[in-house]
């Protein structure tokens, strides 16, 4: 599934495995992240998301397989990898008795930036995160949403090419969440590659170009978001919506059309999801057949699955034991 990509990946995970004693956290994990993309990393609790992120950002050593960031091996080129990534963990890791500026300056110095560079970059990132008016405030006094913005500003202080964000929107109110997503969109436009792990699937569907779904340490899907949300190439599905309900029910007539595999009524409205075999017919012929039936057609659109449904289809029910 990764063969569709042509440009060298920013992040490449190959056959990665990791265990905590007897507990297998990751097993033969493979995926790639393309440059300047926003890649979602989704999985239930305990799926192995944070472990994967910790391996990528050089906190854990892979027990098998390898991970490359910009072609650099995370085990052998530790320092260079650290310079080129920005990591935001899934918790607020703040020095609360510092001001916003001091906090960012502290990390700027930790990345070895000169005072002049730090001043310039911090001013830029504070503007980007809309925190320039609060730069002299103590972090302790900031709201959760503001602290998350400061955390994001901190990630940007060393001007990383790859941002690794672990659940950045968890615990934020809807407004703060939307604003955070807007900032991420802005960053992508600036050429950053963003690898974001999240539970909030609806936002990922709108935001991400590609997605990796992990469950119980195994990769269930990795590739473009569109491919996940549409059915397979061989058996696409379209939704036929009528202006009004008709009598008799047209389901049997639709089922009888050439190449149609399955017809399912959409609950609550006069609409049907029609799945067909592309080897026997195509979309134009199917639409022509529908129109020949004389039905009052309102729309005929590709049936995009909701990310929630795709997620549920790919992952297993129940908790990990």
């Amino acid at each position: 599934m990764n063969d569709v990509f042509e440009t060298p990946p920013v992040l490449e995970v190959q056959h990665l495995s990791y265990s905590f004693r007897k507990h297998r956290a990751l097993l033969d994990v493979n995926f790639q992240v393309q440059p300047q993309s926003l890649h979602g990393f989704v999985g239930p609790n305990g799926a192995g998301k944070t472990t994967t992120l910790k391996v990528i950002c050089t906190l854990l050593q892979p027990q098998a397989g390898n991970v490359r960031v910009f072609g650099l091996d995370v085990v052998h080129d530790v320092k260079e990898v650290r310079r080129r990534i920005g990591f935001m963990p899934d918790h607020f890791s703040m020095y609360r008795q510092m001001t916003v500026f001091e906090y960012l300056d502290f990390f700027g110095a930790a990345y070895g930036l000169s005072q002049v560079e730090r001043d310039r970059i911090i001013t830029d990132v504070l503007t980007l995160t809309d925190m320039d008016g609060r730069k002299d405030d103590l972090i302790n006094g900031l709201s959760r949403g503001m602290q998350q913005r400061v955390s994001l500003a901190r990630v940007l202080v060393n001007d990383p090419d790859l941002l690794l964000l672990d659940e950045p929107a968890s615990g934020l109110d809807p407004r703060a969440r939307i604003e955070l997503m807007e900032i991420l969109q802005e960053l992508r436009k600036m050429g950053k590659t963003i690898f974001i792990s999240s539970h909030i699937l609806s936002e990922l569907a709108e935001l991400c170009d590609s997605v990796t779904i992990i469950d119980r340490g195994l990769i269930k899907y990795s590739g473009p978001m569109d491919d996940l949300l549409t059915d397979t190439e061989e058996h696409p599905a379209y939704v036929l919506t009528l202006r009004e309900a008709v009598d008799p029910d047209p389901q049997e007539q639709l089922q009888a059309l050439a190449g149609v595999l399955r017809v399912e009524e959409v609950e609550g409205k006069p609409a049907w999801s029609i799945s067909f075999d592309r080897a026997m017919t195509d979309t134009n012929n199917l639409l022509r057949g529908v129109l020949d039936l004389g039905l009052p057609v309102a729309s005929f659109t590709e049936d995009r699955k909701h990310l929630n449904q795709a997620f549920m289809d790919l992952t297993e029910r129940g908790v990990r034991t």
């Binding site: 910790k54 950002c57 050089t58 906190l59 854990l60 050593q61 995370v74 085990v75 052998h76 080129d77 530790v78 320092k79 650290r82 310079r83 990534i85 990591f87 935001m88 963990p89 918790h91 607020f92 890791s93 703040m94 020095y95 008795q97 510092m98 001091e102 300056d105 502290f106 990390f107 110095a109 930790a110 990345y111 070895g112 005072q115 901190r154 060393n158």
Partner: protein, 605 residues
């Protein structure tokens, strides 16, 4: 272990016991207690039997020696209660507060008294299992004869009463404090004060209280005067009166715990140290506003930003205990009382020996407090970041583990300098007093001790032991998961290292007649040399006169090497201890060495 049968009536107790049974530490502590109890008991038994037979092989001489053995065992168990139970019980309620789970308990049908009772019992049961560990030793002692039933039943009763009393005290502190560390310190502080620190101090220095008053809260005292003398009949009336303070204090602790449980259930962080420093700040500011100084500023720290060492900058500029301004105030706040007390001791009547004893007592207290302070601060430098979840982000920066650790220590070194200066002042006063005593032709202790050797010894002790405590605690803090655990572990390791060789040495001298061999054993403890310097009674006159300087330098040379070892452990594998990938250059170098050692063992060496 199945505690299901208790579930309908005591759900909290069941939960506590189940959690306790599932924890590895429960068994580790129990094993440690058993080892200490058996080792100490058997050593005392052996010494007692040795003394009785006195080289004679007649077995009849040891018949009837079970009574003193039981006495020894009971006193060891009392010591165990006072040492272990506060640490076990002080977490009872603070653990719930730290997990934000106390509010959930209040929402259940459990009332405050039920919560207290179940928590108390859950902590008493492990202590009773510790007490049961002595049954084989009791059987051993009983087989020698001379044990009365009254001794045994009295011991069972008084050990139980003392256990409940100490448990209630720890529970009260746990209800009062917000954190486990606070409860731990408060419990031991109160225990030290009433069992029987303050009464004894009053008895020694203010007015004669008499042992009945001075030891009124002590279970071992009541046991001693009531049950140990098998010859005399028990005076139940006197026994009843003696039980009043014990039972009364237990009830007071429980009622106070009941009150604090509700009133202090949801405390916000108080930052006492920061508040204290702010108060000191205000006080010095007011003092500074006068006609002479007119608010003069000797040092303007401003709001500088990090230049090249960000972690060191944070430790020295953004932490209260790193800033020069606050350190200076802490120095004055400690130094002035220390000098005042020292002068008052010197000018007070009582003679040179009494003066020297008082200054030595003050020195000992200062040493213990400073050692504790450095251990707590150093062990929490990394583990504190880990607990506050700020470490991961720092570890993803290009700063090497070695740099992080070295920079972290910079703030601590400042504090160590300040504390050393306070301790150094007392050393200097004592040295001058020693020189004065010597010049007057008197001697302190067994010999006229060289003031110069005392001064050099004290300086070396500070130069070697403070870094030793700091690096050892840092190493423990780097490997521990939580700050509280790191602090307790550091204190435990240091306390054990300091006391065990001294106890073994004392035992060797007193009971096994090992003489100077046992005395030298005490130098295996870092406190051994300090004890030698301060009290001058550890080694015999001949040894110290002949080899005083050599012993001094060898001792500190060895301990310097140990400091180097712990520093090496902290810095060499800093990345690994901080739990992140090592810099490849360091790792490659090590792999190369390992490879060379495998292929050419001799050339690698």
């Amino acid at each position: 272990m199945n505690f299901g049968m208790l579930a309908p009536g005591c759900p909290l107790l069941v939960k506590e016991l189940t959690a306790l049974a599932a924890r590895k530490r429960t068994y580790q502590v129990r094993a440690l207690y058993a080892v200490l109890l058996f080792a100490a008991s058997l050593a005392f038994f052996w010494a007692d039997l040795d003394r009785r037979t006195d080289g004679d092989n007649n077995p009849l001489l040891i018949l009837g020696s079970g009574g003193p053995m039981i006495q020894t065992l009971v006193y060891l168990q009392f010591s165990g209660i006072y040492l272990f139970l506060p640490a076990i019980a002080c977490t009872a309620l603070t653990a719930e507060k730290e997990r934000d789970a106390l509010s959930l308990l209040f929402l259940t049908r459990l009332g405050p008294w039920t919560i207290l009772f179940e928590k108390l019992v859950s902590r008493l049961i492990p202590m009773f299992t510790f007490l049961l560990l002595s049954l084989p030793l009791m059987a051993f002692a009983y087989s020698y004869g001379g044990v009365s039933q009254r001794q045994i039943w009295g011991a069972v009763f008084m050990l139980s009463v003392t256990t409940v009393q100490v448990g209630a005290l720890a529970l009260m502190c746990s209800a009062f404090c917000r954190t486990t560390v606070g409860a731990f310190l408060l419990t031991y502080a109160i225990a030290l004060a009433i069992f029987p620190g303050i009464p004894l101090l009053i008895d020694s220095f203010v007015t004669r209280l008499g042992e009945d008053v001075a030891c009124a809260f002590l279970g071992p005292f009541v046991y001693d005067v009531t049950f140990s003398n098998t010859g005399a009949a028990i005076r139940w009336g006197t026994f009843g009166i003696r039980m009043i303070p014990l039972l009364g204090s237990t009830l007071i602790f429980l009622f106070a715990a009941r009150r604090f449980l509700v009133t202090r259930a949801f405390l916000l962080p108080r930052h006492r140290l920061r508040n204290l420093l702010s108060a000191l700040d205000g006080m010095f500011h007011r003092f500074n506003q006068n006609r002479v100084t007119r608010g003069v500023m000797l040092l303007d720290e401003g709001s500088s930003l990090p230049e090249i060492q960000p972690v060191a900058w944070r430790e020295t500029q953004r932490r209260s205990l790193g800033r020069f301004r606050y350190l200076l105030r802490i120095f004055l706040a400690i130094e002035l009382p220390v000098v005042a007390i020292s002068i008052s001791i010197i000018v007070s009547p009582g003679g040179a020996k009494s003066h020297m004893w008082s200054i030595t007592a003050m020195m000992t207290c200062l040493w213990i407090l400073i050692a504790l302070f450095i251990a707590v601060q150093s062990s929490s430098l990394i583990s504190g970041e880990r607990s506050r979840q700020t470490l991961d982000v720092l570890l993803t920066t290009p700063l090497s583990g070695r740099e992080i650790v070295q920079q972290k220590m910079q703030g601590l070194w400042r504090v160590v300098w300040i504390l050393s200066a306070c301790l150094g002042t007392v050393c200097l006063i004592k040295m001058l007093l020693l020189a004065l005593v010597n010049s007057m032709g008197f001697q302190y202790g067994q010999l006229a001790y060289s003031p110069m050797r005392y001064l050099v010894g004290s300086v070396l002790a500070m130069a070697v032991y403070f870094p030793l405590i700091a690096w050892l605690s840092m190493w423990i803090g780097m490997t521990a998961k939580a700050a509280t655990r790191a602090m307790f572990l550091s204190i435990f390791v240091i306390a054990t290292w300091c006391t065990v060789p001294i106890i073994v040495g004392y035992f060797g001298v007193e009971y096994l007649s090992m003489g100077d061999t046992a005395r030298y054993l005490t130098l295996l403890s870092p406190a051994g040399m300090i004890r030698l310097d301060e009290s001058h009674v550890v080694l015999s006159v001949e040894h110290l006169d002949a080899h005083g300087w050599i012993i001094l330098f060898i001792n500190y040379a060895v301990y310097s090497m140990i400091v180097g070892f712990f520093r090496y452990k902290c810095l060499r594998h800093a990345d690994r201890n901080l739990q992140r990938l090592e810099d490849s250059s360091i790792r490659d170098r090590r792999l190369l060495v390992e490879e060379l050692q495998t292929v050419h063992p001799q050339s690698a060496l």
